[in-house]
């Protein structure tokens, strides 16, 4: 009879202790879960930031691509204009040089100076105030207006 009573006392004590431990464990788990939730929230916010940055990067790539395409097209146009200048309306540059030697020599040398300046600009030389502010045909560098005169709009 005493054995049974002892067993029951042990059983109840074990149950109480077990219950106590279980509650402690639940509290501990709860704290961990709370910490996890905070970490998850922070991870989500970081992910959002990452996505935002990726969007910005895509936009920057798109802009850079468009700018490069625009530059290539403008340079192609400059080259086509140079071709036109030599052969405009079936113009024979050689014949013109025989007829108006001095005038053509002057034009050629001016053109050569302009072309040399274009190479300087293409290699990274900064634009002068005069080049930046040029808006008229008489003010621009006709060899490469797309890179030498950013404010010039062909008319």
């Amino acid at each position: 009879m005493f054995g049974i009573r002892l067993f029951f006392i042990g059983l109840i004590a074990t149950a109480i202790a077990g219950g106590g431990f279980y509650v402690f464990k639940l509290q501990k788990d709860n704290a961990i879960l709370k910490a996890n939730a905070i970490k998850m929230e922070s991870a989500i916010s970081e992910q959002k930031e990452l996505i935002e940055n990726q969007k910005k990067d895509f936009q920057a790539i798109l802009t850079a691509n468009n700018e490069m395409n625009e530059l290539v097209n403008n340079l192609k146009k400059d080259l086509a204009d140079l071709d036109k200048r030599f052969n405009k309306k079936n113009r024979d540059f050689g014949k013109l040089a025989i007829e108006k030697t001095k005038a053509i020599e002057r034009i050629m040398n001016k053109g050569g100076d302009n072309a040399a300046r274009c190479i300087e600009i293409a290699s990274g030389s900064p634009l002068t105030e005069k080049e930046i502010n040029a808006t008229k045909k008489s003010e621009i560098n006709p060899e490469c207006p797309s890179i030498a005169n950013p404010n010039y709009v062909p008319y």
Binding site: T14, I32, N36, M40, L71, L75, L79, L82, R117, E120
Partner: protein
């Protein structure tokens, strides 16, 4: 009496076994702390100096025709310049001008491409933010 004792033992086991099992299982299936590893080391900037822009020499083009050839050579001699000229036909001059224009275009594209890469991978703005931090 025996009958009651047996019943009590059985009841005790019925309560004790599931209770111990519960404690055992819940002890194993604990909630683990979430570990997030994050280590970002920014790459060092290349920071190469941009090449110095070219400074072109001025050259003078002479146009020589059958009519002015003598005059041109005479002027050269008078100016103390050797009376010798390298010649191009009008067509070759045109081609030379176009070739130079192509080289110029390529130079501009390459230079701008370099600027775009630098702007994308090493933006000044981010550097300022970091400095501010």
């Amino acid at each position: 009496m025996y009958h009651t004792k047996d019943k009590t033992y059985r009841l005790a086991w019925i309560i004790a076994v599931p209770l111990m099992l519960c404690l055992l299982l819940s002890g194993c299936a604990g909630v683990k702390t979430l570990e997030i590893f994050k280590k970002e080391v920014p790459r060092e900037k290349l920071n190469l100096e941009k090449p110095t822009p070219l400074q072109m020499e001025e050259i003078y083009w002479h146009i020589i025709t059958s009519e002015n050839a003598e005059e041109v050579f005479k002027k050269l001699e008078e100016s103390g310049i050797d009376p010798v000229l390298w010649g191009l036909t009008d067509k070759d001059f045109e081609l030379l001008a176009k070739n130079f224009a192509r080289i110029r275009n390529q130079l501009k594209i390459t230079n701008d491409l370099l600027d775009k890469y630098k702007e994308y991978y090493e933006p000044e703005k981010k550097k300022d933010v970091k400095d501010g931090e």
